[in-house]
């Protein structure tokens, strides 16, 4: 009987990550369907992002793709992806992920039982709020929802805003009722989660990156034969290439749809305004430099043309 590979993720099937997973399932089926059978479980059907890594280590899920900041309990180094204004654009992120340092990060959690197979983009994050955000001063005193991440908390504290950790499922209501003033997310999330309907202003800040790492467990990986590993790696690379191009397209489309809806005003930052944001948030780099490792930050900077 073929080995079962359960791939558990938390998003819908029609998202880039969901389609990437389906593409991966199809490719593996075509190539070594008799040896490895992939089963994709979307929508947190099996585990949510907080528990899936633990489930993987127990051997009950073989593959997952949590957000990069979900690895904070295993490593400090991946916090590099949360640093504000480290990456100029999504191409700089891809460049870094493909660099030696980026590939090293895939392997550096081996001793914790986790092997990375690649990166899936969601996109560059934008800021949305109940009031227009043009300069860092506009954010002062406001409450922003963040994912659980020390770097993201520090990023908002750097502009005198209050970071609030809340589960994704509650964000819409909290924004709608203005219990929280703003949030940061990619265009595609802002569109699909309908945040633009309850956030009158969206600043195209591209200030940070949101992405996922596709991971498998060391023990599962070692149990596979050489050929299966090779095919899985190749299939995953192809699926990720597809998923990443989808993500980029989707963000473009989502941005256009948000603009077309007319429900929120999209604010472009002038060079001067953007410089002010960078200046206000960049001190966060130094705050986390020793935890993350200066080598990673330097390598990432080298990717900004």
């Amino acid at each position: 009987a073929p080995v079962t590979l359960k791939f558990s993720h938390v998003v819908a099937e029609n998202t880039p990550k969901g389609k990437m997973a389906q593409r991966f399932e199809k490719l593996v089926e075509e190539r070594i369907g008799d040896k490895v059978q992939v089963e994709v479980y979307p929508n947190s059907q099996l585990y949510n992002d907080n528990k899936v890594l633990q489930a993987m280590q127990l051997g009950d899920v073989q593959m997952a793709a949590p957000a990069l900041s979900k690895f904070s309990r295993y490593t400090d180094r991946l916090q590099v992806f949360d640093l504000p204004f480290l990456f100029e654009n999504i191409d700089a992120v891809s460049c870094f992920q493909k660099s030696d340092k980026g590939r090293m990060l895939l392997d550096h959690m081996k001793d914790k039982g986790i092997i990375g197979l690649g990166y899936q983009h969601n996109g560059m994050k934008q800021l949305s709020a109940s009031d227009p955000l043009r300069t860092p001063g506009d954010a002062a005193g406001k409450k922003f929802r963040i994912m659980s991440s020390d770097v993201l908390a520090a990023q908002f504290k750097a502009v005198d805003a209050a970071p609030v950790k809340k589960p994704f499922s509650e964000v819409f209501t909290l924004l709608q009722t203005e219990a929280i003033d703003g949030q940061e997310n990619t265009w595609s999330n802002i569109y699909t989660q309908k945040f633009y309907e309850v956030q009158p202003y969206i600043t195209e800040s591209n200030h940070g990156y949101l992405g996922y790492m596709v991971v498998t467990s060391t023990s599962f990986w070692n149990s596979l034969d050489e050929e299966s590993r090779k095919v899985i790696r190749e299939s995953m690379n192809e699926a990720l290439e597809y998923g990443n191009s989808l993500a980029n397209e989707l963000n473009q489309e989502a941005k256009q749809k948000v603009i077309d809806s007319g429900e929120s005003e999209v604010i472009d930052l002038s060079d001067d305004q953007r410089e002010q944001w960078v200046k206000a948030m960049k001190p966060v780099w130094n705050q986390f430099r020793s935890q993350i490792g200066g080598d990673l930050i330097d390598a990432a900077e080298a990717c900004d043309g």
């Binding site: 907080n50 633990q54 280590q57 127990l58 904070s72 309990r73 295993y74 914790k112 039982g113 005193g141 409450k143 659980s148 908390a153 209050a162 970071p163 609030v164 950790k165 809340k166 589960p167 219990a179």
Partner: protein, 183 residues
């Protein structure tokens, strides 16, 4: 005897305390955020972990008190001896349930211990925050053993069921009994 009563009381106090602390934590976090714009970054993980402790620690107490809902239409229709025999089967099956979970929890906590995995926001290791799995299922097993002994000795004939309904009502009668005269 009095030691057992003391332990029962302690168990109840812990359950009540967990609920009060849980409520206060969410309340304070809300008030601080709305009133003062301040946030407690471990509040979410803290309240969810407390909820886990509350449910698992309290579940065994429900077996003793009979607060778990069940259907006893069939077993009540049985004659005494048969009823007790069925009850023994039921309790042994539940012991199997508790045993499987105890084993699973042990393996899980052991793995977390070996990995030394910390919690996300709370300053403690995962195994410690989740250790209530072992405590909770351990207590459930203990209550089941006591129930089994009582059934074998003829002091009980199955799971005690005070339905949620009875429970709600008893509570009413207890608190309203002494205030009949109020207008």
């Amino acid at each position: 005897m009095s030691i057992i009563r003391l332990l029962n009381r302690l168990e109840e106090d812990i359950i009540a305390l967990l609920l009060v602390v849980l409520t206060l934590l969410v309340f304070v976090e809300t008030v601080m955020r709305f009133g003062f714009g301040a946030t407690i970054d471990w509040a979410e993980e803290g309240s969810l972990t407390l909820a886990g402790w509350f449910v698992l620690f309290g579940a065994s107490h429900g077996i003793k008190e009979g607060t778990h809902i069940g259907v006893d239409l069939f077993t009540r229709a049985l004659p005494g001896r048969a009823r007790r025999a069925v009850a023994v089967v039921a309790v042994v099956a539940c012991l199997g349930y508790a045993g499987l979970f105890l084993y699973g929890s042990w393996v899980y906590l052991d793995k977390m211990w070996m990995l030394g995995l910390p919690m996300e926001d709370l300053p403690m290791p995962t195994w410690a925050a989740h250790s209530v799995m072992l405590i909770g299922f351990g207590l459930i097993a203990l209550r089941l053993v006591i129930l089994l002994v009582n059934i074998v000795r003829g002091r009980a004939d199955g799971f005690p069921f005070a339905n949620e309904a009875d429970e709600t009502m008893e509570h009413f009668e207890a608190t309203h009994a002494d205030e009949g005269g109020r207008s």
